[in-house]
């Protein structure tokens, strides 16, 4: 390396330990960051991505692994944060209905009048759900949206018939599939599913940082990105079984069989390049504008919400 990193001790926040965010902790475990001369601690905000974002804005952490949406929302509020490495270019989200309704509900339009569970109000599950509903030709009040919390409670709510449909991620997706208690209307763990639901790829988890931090510590950022790209390449090159064993504890269940199933279904999640496609970036903007009039009103400059320059350089450096 030509230059030394400006800062070696770094804190990265994740908003709860969902599979989408897994590479950063895997990177820590594999030593990818250490190889780049960085000492990275991952801080988990179990209550969700918005808390992780607040920690970044408040200066408690240096970077956050969170949804790309946040960079757009923040620009609307006058904060400059920028995505430097895209972890997922598909959302990994599913929308399923209870199995007993599977015959009646086959498309988004059939959700009319049903109760749809999301993780938390205002969360990306809600924005995505609302976008999908609208795309299916329904009005905002045609579906009852209920927050059921993430994880087990959502699953229970579906099984106990408290809700008719649910927006969910892995590992719930795999568990529900195994129990055959839900049928997916779309499965955005794959490119096709994402296309079907959102009309294209949909950038979700990414590493974003404050613009000022990026300006001040370019070498540090570069190394972060290097380490992440290295990890992603490792994920894509490693057989599922071995990968499952390597995954840090917070991201896998205690059932190895289920874990393998999950990884098989979700491996496509992890972008091989970490680079953002400007066309893809327009999708979340459209979704958000739809949901929040303030974002629609703000003139969002998407070029300021992400930069590929670190990922491109990393790709060169890691050849």
């Amino acid at each position: 390396h030509a230059t030394e990193p400006e800062k070696t001790k770094l804190k990265i926040a994740v908003g709860s330990q969902i599979l989408n965010y897994m590479p950063v902790e895997l990177g820590v475990k594999l030593g990818s960051f250490k190889e780049e001369g960085l000492d990275v601690t991952v801080e988990n905000f179990q209550a969700g991505g918005s808390k992780a974002l607040q920690a970044l804005i408040g200066g408690s952490v240096d970077g956050t692994i969170g949804f790309y949406d946040h960079t757009i929302q923040m620009q609307a509020q006058g904060k400059q944060i920028s995505c430097v490495f895209l972890l997922n270019d598909i959302p990994g989200v599913l929308l399923g209905v209870r199995s007993d309704l599977a015959d009646k509900v086959r498309t988004g339009a059939d959700l009319k009048g049903l109760r749809l569970g999301i993780t938390a109000p205002g969360s990306s599950t809600e924005t995505m759900a609302r976008y999908y509903i609208k795309k299916s030709g329904l009005g905002p009040r045609d579906v009852n949206i209920i927050a059921v919390g993430s994880g087990a409670p959502g699953m229970v709510a579906l099984e106990a018939m408290n809700v008719d449909a649910l927006v969910y991620f892995d590992p719930i997706a795999t568990l529900l599939a195994r129990k055959k208690s839900a049928t997916a209307l779309f499965d955005a763990r794959t490119i096709e599913g994402s296309k079907q639901a959102f009309g294209g790829s949909y950038p979700t988890a990414c590493l974003y940082l404050q613009q000022s931090f990026i300006n001040k510590n370019p070498e540090t950022v570069q190394r972060l990105v290097n380490a992440l790209l290295k990890t992603h390449r490792w994920i894509n090159a490693t057989p599922t079984e071995q990968l499952v064993d390597a995954i840090p504890p917070g991201y896998k269940t205690d059932n190895r069989e289920v874990n393998i199933e999950i990884m098989n279904a979700s491996k496509a999640l992890f972008s091989p390049t970490g680079q953002m496609d400007i066309e893809a970036a327009k999708v979340p903007l459209a979704v958000l504008s739809d949901f929040d009039p303030k974002i629609a009103a703000a003139k969002i400059d998407l070029n300021k919400t992400f930069t590929n320059r670190f990922a491109e350089r990393a790709a060169q450096q890691l050849k």
């Binding site: 946040h70 929302q73 205002g122 409670p153």
Partner: protein, 257 residues
């Protein structure tokens, strides 16, 4: 000026002072309005909310949950406190368990209650109860044991039955203890309801706040907090009335002149 007047004036001055500092701080850029939005925007937001029907439904739901969990929590906690306060053996046996339960973070109980009681009112009330219950229990328990031994002996010598003792001696004697626990409990009940809504629901103040938080709308969060506070002040006024009625028999509090 009357004492009440002076109190109100001082309170008003404090509130006004804080609001001014805050507002000016935001204006001057010393306070980041992303985290701490200016009071004026908060007021505007609350005004906006008040003109929607949804807001009043939310308030109604949260109020119902709060009141139910308050009453149920106080009821159970007080009953448990009296029972254990009067039976030392049972107390020694049961107390460690109660203390253990009290240490379970309520955030973790939320999902379990959703599993048990579903997404409706019950799970919200259950969470509130678990917060209120312990405060009421520990104070009642101690209050019952604090009864003046001479007064108790006298009542027993007048051949009071167990239930008479409870009604005429233990309960009046524990009243200040129970009332003191109500003060904490009011806040706890509100907190319980809101946290439960926050963890999963489709309506209520907690939902409103969670929604605002989800879209990183600090104004909404703070406006919600302010509404909650107003809420507590109103509920607490009711406890005050109860206190005044129940404690007519006491000498004026022993203050230095």
């Amino acid at each position: 000026m009357s004492r009440r007047g002076r109190v109100a004036l001082t309170q008003f001055a404090i509130v006004l002072g804080l609001i001014l500092i805050w507002e000016l701080g935001v204006w001057a850029g010393l306070i980041d309005s992303f985290f701490f939005p200016a009071p004026s925007t908060l007021v505007a937001r609350i005004g906006e909310w008040m003109s929607t029907a949804d807001f009043w439904t939310d308030i109604g739901i949260t109020l119902l949950e709060t009141v139910l969990s308050f009453l149920a929590g106080i009821g159970i906690g007080t009953a448990l406190g009296i029972w254990l306060g009067l039976s030392p053996f049972a107390a020694e046996v049961v107390q460690p368990f109660i203390k253990m339960f009290n240490a379970i973070p309520r955030i973790l109980l939320g999902p379990i209650f959703v599993i048990w009681f579903g997404l409706g009112l019950t799970s919200k009330v259950a969470l509130g109860v678990t917060l209120v219950l312990f405060v009421a229990f520990f104070n009642t328990f101690q209050g019952v044991r604090e009864v003046n031994p001479v007064v108790l002996a006298n009542a027993r010598l007048l051949r009071a039955s167990k239930s008479s003792l409870l009604r005429h001696v233990y309960l009046p004697s524990a009243t200040t203890w129970i009332l003191s626990s109500l003060r904490v409990s009011v806040g706890m009940a509100v907190m319980g309801a809101v946290v439960a809504e926050y963890l999963g629901s489709s309506a209520g103040l907690g939902h409103l706040i969670a929604q605002a938080e989800g879209v990183l709308d600090a104004t909404g969060v703070f406006a919600g907090i302010i509404v909650l506070s107003a809420f507590v002040v109103v509920l607490d006024a009711i406890v005050d009335c109860a206190e005044k009625r129940l404690l007519v028999w006491r000498p004026a509090p022993a203050h230095e002149s």
